[in-house]
Structure formats: C-alpha cells, structure tokens
C-alpha cells in the first residue's frame, strides 16, 4: 500500500512569489524573513521524499462558477495547467504546467463515492493559486505528479466544518489503502482570519489576531474537539469575511488525525494576514 510520508497545511499568500523574487528597491522589508521561513518549511517536505502530492485547495472563481458549483471536486487528468490571467495581473504569478497522477485520482474518486462523499470530478482543470502557491513554496521544481482536490469555502451555501474534517479523515484512509508503492504527501492550504473586500482588509495584521492565536493552537495540537466546538459556519464570519478558508485547515487536521501534534509549526505575522505553516509525519495506521 501507499505510504503517507507527510501531511502539510499552510496558508497560501499569493504575494509570496512576487515578494521573494523582488530585488533592490522593489523588495519589501519583510521578504528576507519570509523567504527564510519558507525555505525551512520547504525542507519539511523535501526530507519526506514524496513521489506524489495530493493538493487540497479552493478555486477562487476561476474555473468553478455559480452556474455549476461543486462542493468537493477531485481533478483526474494527465496534466493541469495553472494560474489565471487575473493572478498574473494582480500577483505576478507565473503560468505553470503540472503532471497529474490519474491512478490516485481514480482511486480517491471511487472510494470517496463509496464512503459517502458525492465527489464531483474534472478531466480538464486549470488550477489556481490555492494549489500553485504551495507548489511554489514547497516544491518549486513542480516536478511531482499531483491530485488536486477543490473545496468550496467561497460560495455559500457551504458544507459544515465537520464535513471538511470528515473528508480529511476519509482522504487519509483512502490514500493509505491505495495499492501502490508510492510515497504520498498530502498538502492543503487555507486561511486563518482573513478579510477580502470588506472594511477590515489590508490592516497591519490579520483582522483577528486572537482567532489566529487560537487557530494555530488547535492545529498545532490537533485539538479537533475544541476547534469543532467553537467553529461554525456562522462563527467564521466574525474573524473576517473570508475566514471560511479556515475549513481547509480543518480538513487537514482531519487528514493528520485527532490529537496529532504537528511536528513542525511556524508562523509569520504579516500585514493583512497571519501566515502559518504545519507539517506532520504520520506513520502507517497511527500518529508518530
């Protein structure tokens, strides 16, 4: 069976690429520290030596639209083109091409359906920065085949937080049962408190530093009980109007497993958001 060699959760700040590649007067003052933290975070994936990456993210109204909106969607294609015109325009992101791992996509779709998740699928998916940002930060060579999984954290009505956790637990089980010798890393990105297009956007910190502090604690300690007790679809409006992206962190807590302490935790307090980086090294069938 396949082995899950790393579980990784992080924020996906679209400005990292621009900040880290800027030089001279264009280079923002926080870029050096940010880059140092990312290089250390990248090492946590590199040392796991994965063959395949399962990438959990959320389409930002690029390919998925309100006339036909899936809640959870799995890509199944030999290739994925990546990044969109408005991401080049606003964030300076490069166009990319990633390989797909179709066998694992098929395995996740078949078994996800059988486990009670009516997963949508796509055979031609252009992915966006929710998946390319972690490729850029964690595996900039972009050389490993991926399985993209999109969640709807963006267009209400949304699935409940508990459903994200359950999907994460189910993905973990399904990948562990994949008849393959390959080493799989499961990587997902979301947000802590975040405001986009509202009055609290682009402040000196994230819109709700107290939420961020508690969220980092929940994730780092695998405290799904308290996280699920406190987080509801309604409560997530309060830390910031785009904070429902935190549910992708909850999905990753489900992948890591209840009570699983992260082996690597780091944060960076930036303007606009708190960045957060977590890595777990599971062993087969349990938590190290």
């Amino acid at each position: 069976m396949a082995s899950i060699v790393a579980v990784i959760a992080s924020t996906h700040h679209p400005f990292y690429y621009k900040a880290s590649t800027a030089t001279g007067e264009d280079r923002p003052p926080f870029a050096d520290e940010w880059e140092r933290k990312i290089l250390a975070f990248r090492e946590t994936l590199t040392r796991a030596n994965p063959d395949v990456l399962v990438m959990v993210g959320s389409d930002h109204f690029h390919q998925l639209w309100l006339d036909n909106m899936p809640q959870f969607l799995v890509g199944k294609a030999p290739f994925y083109d990546a990044n969109w015109y408005n991401e080049e325009r606003e964030f300076g992101l490069p166009r990319m091409l990633l390989k797909g791992q179709e066998d694992l996509s098929a395995h996740i779709l078949r078994n996800g359906l059988d486990e009670g998740f009516d997963l949508a699928f796509s055979n031609e998916l252009r992915i966006d920065h929710s998946i390319t940002c972690p490729i850029i930060t964690l595996r900039p060579e972009a050389d490993l085949p991926i399985v993209p999984i999109y969640t709807n954290i963006f267009a209400p009505p949304l699935p409940q937080p508990s459903r994200f956790v359950k999907l994460g637990e189910t993905i973990r089980q399904i990948v562990e049962q994949w008849p393959s010798h390959l080493r799989v890393a499961i990587i997902g990105t979301g947000h802590l408190s975040l405001e986009l297009g509202g009055p609290r956007q682009f402040g000196p910190h994230g819109p709700d530093p107290e939420f961020d502090r508690r969220a980092v604690e929940w994730i780092a300690s695998g405290d799904l009980d308290n996280c699920l007790r406190e987080v509801t679809l309604d409560s997530l409006h309060s830390p910031g109007n785009a904070t429902h992206g935190f549910m992708d962190f909850m999905l990753m807590m489900g992948v890591a497993g209840a009570g699983a302490k992260a082996d690597y935790v780091d944060t960076l307090d930036l303007f606009h958001t708190m960045e957060a980086y977590f890595t777990w090294y599971p062993t087969q069938g349990g938590v190290r």
Binding site: L66, D67, E90, G197
Partner: protein, 120 residues
C-alpha cells in the same frame, strides 16, 4: 435582487482584459452593452442557448455604472469579485503600495457585523 447577476458581471468582466479597460474608461457604455449582450449568456453554452430572464434592478445597474463598490457591498455582491476587479481598474493609480486597497476598506468602515448576505 439579482446578486447572482451582479456577481456574473464582476466575474466575466474581471477575466477579460479588454472588458476591464472598457469598464474603467466607459462604465455606462460597458454596463449597458453587457446587460444587453452578455447577461443572459450561459457561460458553458454556445450561442443560441442562452437564458432569457436575467436583468439588473435599477439600483444594481446604477451601482455598477457608478463604480460604487460600497453600494455593491451593501447589495450583497461577492466582495472577492468586487475587490479583484476594482484593484485591476484602480490600483494602477496608487502613489504608494496598497493605497487603493486601504482606501477601498476605509470607504466600507461604516459596515458592522453581520455584513450583507452574499449567498446567491
């Protein structure tokens, strides 16, 4: 109330560089053309297989023509779509980093929680 159509306008204009420029420079012309010509296009269908019933309310049309992002927020347009398109149109006028983004937020300062519902 046609939040969906507001969102559809913001979404389809944002992804087309020519429409972004037309909306910036000639909003009345662009909004009028879009409502006549594009509002009923089913995005995944060929021509001739369009919807027949989508139109803006007067209030929505005026908010779009006026580049009135505060009113769009109040009407429940998706704030991510509004922000992305308005940054595309107006960030270029910044005299310092994030100037437009911060001013955009400041103009919304009178909104308390809960914000207008964005569900479509």
């Amino acid at each position: 109330m046609s939040k969906y159509l507001l969102d559809k306008f913001l979404y389809t204009v944002d992804r087309d560089p020519d429409l972004v420029e037309r909306y910036r420079s000639s909003p009345r012309e662009l909004v009028t053309w879009w409502e006549d010509d594009r509002a009923n296009a089913v995005l995944n269908c060929h021509s001739g297989e369009a919807s027949t019933w989508l139109r803006f309310t007067d209030d929505e049309r005026q908010a779009l023509i006026g580049h009135d992002h505060v009113r769009l927020f109040e009407l429940g347009a998706h704030p991510f779509l509004t922000l992305t398109l308005f940054i595309a149109m107006f960030e270029r006028d910044n005299t310092e980093p994030l100037e437009y983004q911060k001013a955009f937020g400041a103009r919304l300062a009178h909104f308390d929680m809960p914000y207008p519902d964005i569900a479509t």
